[in-house]
Symmetry: C2
Subunit: 101 residues, 2 copies
DNA sequence: GCAACAGTAAACCGTATGGTTCACCAACAG
DNA sequence: CTGTTGGTGAACCATACGGTTTACTGTTGC
């Protein structure tokens, strides 16, 4: 279900969160700090990322720590590579076809 | 503006269109045929993909031909690779840190 | 124990999104 | 010329989405 991951990354706020988490884990508050948004809004976004399988969270005391999943982007990467391969081989085929003429 | 491309790919219908176009160009009607959707709906999706810079269309006679852009997925691919790199180097750093202890 | 703090749940709101139908136009085919 | 076909534009509709506020719960520090 890679479209769910794409959808999750389609929101600029969520994309920024992922970029932030790629630098290392952070609490929900940490994620909200640089934004103008309310905490509940940020946590909704985190939940979406979690549902998409991009992020895991765990509660330590009263703070919820968010971290990027190790395998977060492999589905996205493989899908992208696959489509690029298909498309480029088709272009190659066109190229050789033109050469043959 | 990679989040626009992610958003475009976030819809299952649009994802399917891209997968279809990776196999080769198609008319709007061709794209609508395998679906249960109306033609106008499909063309809206195509328009979104076009706005995201993933697809180009051109009108030949009365049929609109849609094709995947050659550079369609490079932004997505590079962004993904970049984040993966960041995250994995951080994991490496953690690994060596643990070794040092 | 109490105050401050981090998060959560719920209700609510405006707008964007994904879809429809209908009317219309331009291009073929006969 | 005429009928059919492929696409387009507009109006419209329901629902999903991104955000808010408010009230509440569980931790932590003094």
């Amino acid at each position: 279900m890679v479209h769910q991951q794409f959808a999750a990354l389609g929101d600029p706020t969520r994309l920024a969160i992922v970029e932030r988490l790629a630098r290392g884990p952070a609490s929900a508050g940490d994620l909200a700090a640089p934004t103008t948004m309310s905490l509940p809004a940020v946590l909704k976004h985190v939940r979406v990322l979690e549902d998409a399988g991009l992020v895991t969270t765990a509660k330590r005391g009263r703070v919820r720590e968010c971290r990027l999943r190790d395998d977060a982007l492999v589905a996205v990467a493989t899908w992208t590579a696959q489509q690029q391969a298909l498309w480029s081989t088709r272009l190659d085929a066109l190229g050789t076809l033109l050469e043959d003429m």
